[in-house]
Symmetry: C2
C-alpha cells in the first residue's frame, strides 16, 4: 500500500483518537499489513494483490469480460482496465473478441500465464500461511468465519 | 471501493479458484464491504474512509506533517497529498508553516472542521456498529484480537 515507506501501524507518541475504537480501522490496518507482506514477496514477480485476484479469476473463468471482472473484484472499471493492461503487458493474459458481443472483450490466460501461474500460486500460498503465523487452525477458522459475517 | 457498481462478493456461477482458500482474500472481501458501507453512509458528507482517518489523526495530533500522515496511514505521499487537498477544499483542515522547518507544512483542523467533526463521528460510529451487527461483544473482541495478530 505504502509506496514511499513502511506503514507505521502503532507509533509511540501518536494519538490515534477514535480510530483505535473502530472495528473498521482494525480491519483496515490488518489489510495494509497484509498488502505490504504480499508486495514484499510477490513484488519481484510483478504481481500485486489485485493483479493476482484478476489472474485467478480469469484462469478460473476463461473468457471473463472486463466489466464483470471489475464487479467481481469490487473495483471501478478504470481500475480493472489498469490491472488488465498490466497483466497483458506482462504477457500473462490476453484480450480476445467476445463471442456474440462485438463491443466486449473476453479475457484469457496466455501460454506464458499458464506456465507462470504455479510459481505465483506457490508464493501466494506461502505468503498467506505467514499472515496467520502462530494461529491455531481453529483461530484461522474463527477469523475467517467472523470476517465473512462483516456486513453481510 | 467500487465506483461503477456494487461489489459482487459471492456470485453464483463464478469460480473463485484458489481465492476462496486464502485468508488474505477473506480480509480483502471484508474490507471492500466495509468501505462500501462507509461510503453509503458518509458519502453525503464528502467523507471517505481515508479522509476520516486523516481528519481524526490531524485532530488528535495538531500540527502533524503531511509526510508523517502518509506513514501513519500506510499510504503513498501522493495519496496523502490528495486526501489533504480534498479536506482543505472542504475547509475542514488547513496547512500552516511548520515551526522550525521552512519546507514542511503542519496540518490543523479549521474552525469548521472542529464544528463538523462531532456529526461525522456520530455517523462513523453508527456505521462501525452496523459492521458487526449480530456479533456478540465477545465475538467483536475476538475478531479485533485476531486482526491485530495478522502479520505482526
Amino acid at each position: 500500500m505504502s509506496q514511499d515507506g513502511r506503514f507505521e501501524p502503532r507509533r509511540p507518541g501518536v494519538d490515534y483518537g477514535v480510530l483505535d475504537e473502530l472495528t473498521g480501522y482494525a480491519l483496515r490496518r490488518a489489510q495494509i499489513r497484509m498488502t505490504e507482506a504480499f508486495d514484499a514477496r510477490l513484488g519481484p514477480e510483478g504481481i500485486t494483490t489485485q493483479r493476482f485476484s484478476a489472474l485467478v479469476l480469469i484462469e478460473a473463468n476463461p473468457g471473463l469480460k472486463q466489466t464483470r471482472l471489475a464487479a467481481l473484484m469490487g473495483i471501478a472499471r478504470s481500475g480493472a482496465l489498469a490491472i488488465v493492461d498490466a497483466l497483458a503487458a506482462q504477457d500473462l493474459i490476453e484480450r480476445r473478441p467476445a463471442p456474440g458481443d462485438r463491443r466486449a472483450q473476453a479475457l484469457h490466460l496466455t501460454d506464458q500465464g499458464r506456465a507462470r501461474l504455479p510459481q505465483i500460486m506457490r508464493l501466494v500460498r506461502e505468503h498467506d500461511r505467514d499472515l496467520t503465523q502462530g494461529f491455531s487452525p481453529e483461530e484461522i477458522a474463527v477469523l475467517r468465519a467472523l470476517l465473512e459475517r462483516i456486513r453481510t
